[in-house]
Amino acid sequence: MSARILVVDDDVALAEMIGIVLRGEGYIPIQAFDGADALLKIAESKPDLILLDVMLPGLTGIEVCSKIRETSGVPIIMLTAKGDTTDVVRGLESGADDYVVKPFNPKELVARIRTRLRPASEGSNTVITLGDVTIDVPAHEVRRADTPISLTPLEFDLLLALALKPQQVFTREMLLEQVWGYHYKADTRLVNVHVQRLRAKVELDPDNPVIVQTVRGIGYKAGGATSAADSAS
């Protein structure tokens, strides 16, 4: 079944062109030209991924992103004309999983989409415990005690990557490759922002992280692991 991708951009020509590219790759494009329209279309068609332009008339892309994240973990890739400003960080903080700078190489865009839409890692068939948090891999659920913690697929992937190798310290480059699929030097802010988002959801005290620990000068690692019954590594 082909994935449905919602393209939200106020530039009609660009939206159409992206649509053509997506169709060429076997996806089904849906178009929205502003924030309100986008929210409508999401409710109607339930897309599998959203391409969201940051500069929109009316509701800004960032506001739309936050709104979407209130109820859904659907993958969101930001399209932005300015790759080196605070816009990117704000977009990521509001919930976007990744971003692409205009003008972009269509191959690049497709690669990002593919990474976000890939099926869940068949890592291991177990439940992993980090501190007081349990990760049920096959069920794709994370709980503390019996309270479920709602994570977006990206956040889940990130947590899982760390949890599968609890002794391993992951550099930002390693995480960019594993979770985001970047094989070259990419923006490490992606990792920073999403670790922060993850901590905000998963840690009891995000300022003193226990589950996702920082290793100064290197990166991050999972903390408080007790047992990972059969590790698939």
Partner: protein, 543 residues
Amino acid sequence: MIPQAWRAFLVALGAPFRFWRTSLLTRTVAITVALSGLAVTVIGGYMSLTIADSLFSSRENQILSETARAASTAQSLFENSVTASGSIDVETANTTAQTAIRAAQSSPGSSGFAVLRTPGQITPQTMTSTSTAGLDLSVVTSELRSRVVSEPSQIHYQSVTIRVEGEARPGIVASALFQVPSAGQYELYLIYDLQDVQSTLTLIQRTLIAGSLALVLAIGVLTFFVVRLAIGPVRQAAKTAERLAEGFLEERLTERGEDVIAVLARSFNKMADSMQRQIVRLANLSQVQQRFVSDVSHELRTPLTTIRLAGDVLYAQRDSYSPENSRTVELLITQIERFEIMLTDLLEMSRYDAGAVSLEVDEINLVPLVEDCLDQLAPLAAQKGSPLLLEVRGGYGESEVDPRRIRRIVLNFVGNAIDHGEGREIVTFVDSNEEAVAIAVRDWGVGMSPDQVLRVFDRFWRADPSRQRTTGGTGLGLAIAQEDAAAHGGRIDVWSVEGVGSCFRLTIPRTPLAGWDESPLPLPPESMIIPELNPRDVSEELA
């Protein structure tokens, strides 16, 4: 420590000189006091002399006329003492005469008199020479006596020193002659003590001095206040100017009155107004430009994305086109890429022009960064046949730089080297010293003439426009690189010789905008890995 104390001493010694130099007030007051002191001294001295002169001469005249009177009184007295028979009782007459003389000597300071017989006379009678009791006759000098005798018709006098109770005082001896009938010529000497005149003079002098000092002091104080009053506005202006210079653009002088100070204040304020307006306008302009830059950035990128996507879609299907269309699409794609790069470069350049550039500084190790860049360009270099070599002599430590910009510079250098390297080796050198790090890229290719070297950083300037560019080449690469280097507080230097090769060296301080003296790398650096690359014998080339 001793040198410290010595230094402090010298500083203290020099303090008055420094004070002199820096304080207009002190200088003015000091000069005024000095000059008025001089004037007062001269005038006072003159006054003192004149007064002394006049005091003394008036007393003198008094004494002389008194002496003349006394002499003539005595003379007539003696003449009247001659009886009808022509005889005279000189001693009686003497006594009478003495009384008369005593009476005549009435000027202040009278200190006695003496009547002395002129020596060398033969007369029928002799009158006794007399003098006031206790009078020291040595005050009547022989010099005076001889003068008196030699010029009998004049009154003579002489200044002498009189001793009174051991004190030496100024005095005058005045003399006149008279004839005693039948006793001959007698000299009358009147002695006067001038101490009172002297005292008066001394008093006057003291008063003059005291008065002068007071006057000079008063002048000094007055000058101080007046100058301070006058300088006040100037000082105020200086302080206000300094505040303006520090950036407090609101500072102004108070304008009061119509005099030249008010004119100064008004002009100053006008100038400050104009300056403030200008600065604010420029700041606004810069802001406007920055906003424009970022708006343009967004506006252009969206249609460009559409074009790019369209081009890529067509390109993906080029196998199904006619050869011409296929080639058309290829050209389309490459030009779109070029356009994109040019757009980015132009926007970067205009950001630098608007002063809207901020470094995103990171502590990184430069060597891996350079290695990365070389890896990135390796395929391109291979195409041209140029081996990319790296000689690291230092610079392993962390440097605070904007990695994106440094990367851009290195890529530009290596790209240019690949394009102009004629397929020969390209060596990248990295080194550091205490203050700075340097990255130099050297090629042994076509080189540049001195004219070309001068223009190599110009915007859109190409050494050889017909040369095939493999690395984009908007003509802005080096201009941007130069700005990137300057933003760090560093510099790019070029060495090039036609037919031999070129070297571009980037030197930046270890922390942004810190000072540095010397670049850690020479220009051009000689390769130590491949000594054959070092200056070849030119004859070998020609042979």
